[in-house]
């Protein structure tokens, strides 16, 4: 059973503010979806290895050669707020 309190806890972990009304609707949705997902418990998965990726991926290495990057000006051009070439955000430490 997913409660309103659970949703508010998850919403804080997700960094999404939800009011009481929204949390209630989401609790019902999540409950329905999780009930459907319960069907996975019917399967025997002992000795089955997890698949996180379908390709046989290996770490990609390259020579450590200096290359052109995006650059500070281009990066800062998309900032919501900026100051002295930096992204500006609300105060982090009191």
């Amino acid at each position: 059973m997913v409660s309103k309190k659970d949703v508010q806890y998850i919403s804080h972990l997700s960094r999404i503010y939800t009011d009481d009304q929204e949390a209630e609707a989401l609790a019902k949705n999540l409950e329905d979806i999780l009930t459907y997902i319960e069907k996975l418990k019917k399967l025997d998965i002992t000795n089955v290895k997890p698949t996180s990726h379908v390709l046989p991926l290996k770490n990609v290495f390259r020579d450590d050669i200096l290359r052109k990057s995006l650059g500070q000006q281009a990066a800062i051009k998309i900032a919501v707020e900026s100051e002295n070439g930096s992204f500006k955000v609300p105060q982090v430490i009191e």
């Binding site: 659970d6 949703v7 998850i10 919403s11 804080h12 972990l13 997700s14 960094r15 999404i16 503010y17 939800t18 929204e22 989401l26 949705n29 999540l30 329905d32 979806i33 999780l34 459907y36 997902i37 069907k39 996975l40 418990k41 399967l43 998965i45 089955v48 290895k49 997890p50 698949t51 996180s52 990726h53 379908v54 390709l55 991926l57 990609v60 390259r62 995006l70 281009a74 990066a75 051009k77 998309i78 900032a79 919501v80 707020e81 992204f87 955000v89 609300p90 105060q91 982090v92």
Partner: protein, 478 residues
């Protein structure tokens, strides 16, 4: 026939023969956008002039719509979400660079479900896209704008992205061809990630030859994407031979159970008869873990999405909101308010489901279990492809549904991708092409799947079917 109603391969030959110019083709497409897009809403952002490269080879000067989650330099790229309002990427996605180099002329960004979360294109911040065959119906999703733009001749071809069926299901609903290439076949660099282990960019086109041509332009290894496959790319148009003699094709019995519309079933059976006449051999097979695909997908895809979407917090780009306009506030309140106002309902639902399944105490029960079931689903396909050259199924259990019909019931919406999701979990290529119409005039799609990196086999079968039927020639009247 009007210029914008032609296929890309026809347009390319007309331009080569100097019977038409790239400018006149773009103009015809632009006129269609101006005339119809207020009703269809296939575009999130329309470009008044073609976005093109002056230094291109100009070999393929074809107007193309690009899904709104694929970055175009200095052009609004928003994933049809409020949270990316105002964002203009400082770089092109690799597929965009490749298209511009080949001479393509971009018409704009196609509308989509917000962050590709949906199967109906109803969750877009810019309002829903409508199905050109029936304006009261959805075009499918999440690449609904890309599919509708091609079906309504507001683009000659389009790019979409497919995480659980987001190219194939809208292609099926809009009566066009949609291909999800093998995972790793096309670079994902510059595709705004939804679920990185499942996402793949692919073509939406008017016929199979256009699909092969467009895949030729975008496929290949890219050092900017460490998950792109370093394998040679064949010329896919060479696979359009019409020869399918003695090919072995499997029909999975699990795809013809309760829930399938009888009209869809009937059209698939008729399509099988067409291919049989051309020499293909059919046999019923079993993919025993099919019924677990949707549940597996919604655990894995939402878990990856919750992680990928953590970057949208108002700190760097897009939208920033403060609680009740208070600017002096702890940064965490800014994050929460930005994401509250910036994300729509479905995005919030998916982020929270993903966060839940990854949270302490639930990881083993949900996420790890789903990863193991993914192995079982992949094994089903590996086994099948030991014996069969391809697998044939319907693309969707139904034709396009009405706008609003499933909007308040997320689970029923999720189940509309039941036939397409497995291909993403297994990483295999899959294509949808038109195979008929329902009694009320809505298109029906046929899905062909093969083993990884065997897109040529898909094209061979799909092209043979297309050449022996007329469904792809039926045009929308607007």
């Amino acid at each position: 026939m009007k210029l914008n109603e032609l296929t890309a391969h026809k347009i390319i030959s007309l331009i080569k023969e100097k019977k038409e110019t790239a400018e006149s083709v773009f103009l015809a497409v632009k006129q269609a956008i101006d005339a119809f897009d207020k009703r269809i809403n296939a575009y999130a952002h329309i470009s008044e002039k073609p976005i093109k490269s002056e230094s291109s080879t100009k070999e393929f000067p074809v107007p193309i719509a690009i899904k709104d989650n694929i970055c175009i330099k200095d052009y609004p790229t928003t994933c049809s979400s409020h949270i990316l309002e105002g964002f203009r990427p400082p770089y092109n996605a690799t597929v965009v660079d490749k298209l511009l180099e080949s001479g393509a002329r971009i018409t704009g960004h196609a509308n989509m479900d917000e962050f590709a979360f949906g199967s109906s294109t109803e969750t877009s911040f810019f309002g829903p896209t409508r199905n050109p065959w029936n304006l009261e119906c959805v075009p499918g999703g999440s690449s609904g704008g890309s599919a509708a733009s091609v079906a309504a001749h507001e683009a000659i071809w389009a790019l979409g992205s497919d995480t659980g069926g987001s190219i194939r299901q809208p292609a099926s609903f809009c009566g066009i061809v949609g291909l999800k290439p093998t995972y790793g076949r096309v670079s994902r660099y510059g595709l705004i990630a939804f679920a990185s282990s499942l996402d793949q960019i692919g073509p939406l086109t008017k016929d199979v030859e256009d699909s092969a041509l467009l895949l030729n332009l975008i496929a290949g290894h890219d050092e900017m994407d460490s998950t792109s496959a370093n394998l040679p790319v064949p010329d896919y148009t060479k696979a359009l031979t019409g020869d399918i003699k003695n090919l072995k094709i499997g029909i999975p019995k699990e795809y013809f159970v309760e829930g399938i519309d009888p009209e869809v079933k009937e059209k698939i059976i008729t399509a099988i008869e067409v291919l049989k006449k051309k020499g293909a051999q059919f046999k019923e097979i079993s993919l025993p873990h099919t019924e677990y695909a949707v549940a597996t997908y919604y655990i894995l895809a939402t878990a990856e999405a919750s992680s990928n979407l953590a970057r949208f917090d108002g700190a760097q780009y897009g939208l920033r909101c403060y609680p009740k306009d208070k600017r002096r506030t702890p940064i965490i309140d800014m994050y929460e308010e930005t994401r509250n106002q910036g994300f729509g309902q479905e995005a919030k639902r998916r982020i929270m489901l993903g966060t839940y399944s990854l949270s302490s105490g639930y990881y083993d029960a949900y996420y790890l279990r789903a990863q193991k079931v993914r192995t079982l689903i992949k094994n089903d396909f590996d086994e099948a492809f030991k014996e069969f050259d391809a697998i044939l199924t319907p693309t969707s259990p139904t034709t396009a549904f009405k706008l609003g019909e499933k909007a308040s019931d997320p689970l029923s919406m999720y189940l509309s991708d039941i036939y397409t999701i497995s291909a993403n979990l297994a990483g295999i290529p899959a294509l949808s092409l038109p195979c008929g119409f329902s009694n009320d005039g809505l298109p029906i799609g046929l899905q062909i799947m093969t083993k990884p990196f065997d897109e040529e086999m898909i094209f061979r079968i799909a092209h043979t079917y297309e050449q022996n039927t007329d469904w792809h020639k039926k045009k929308v009247t607007l």
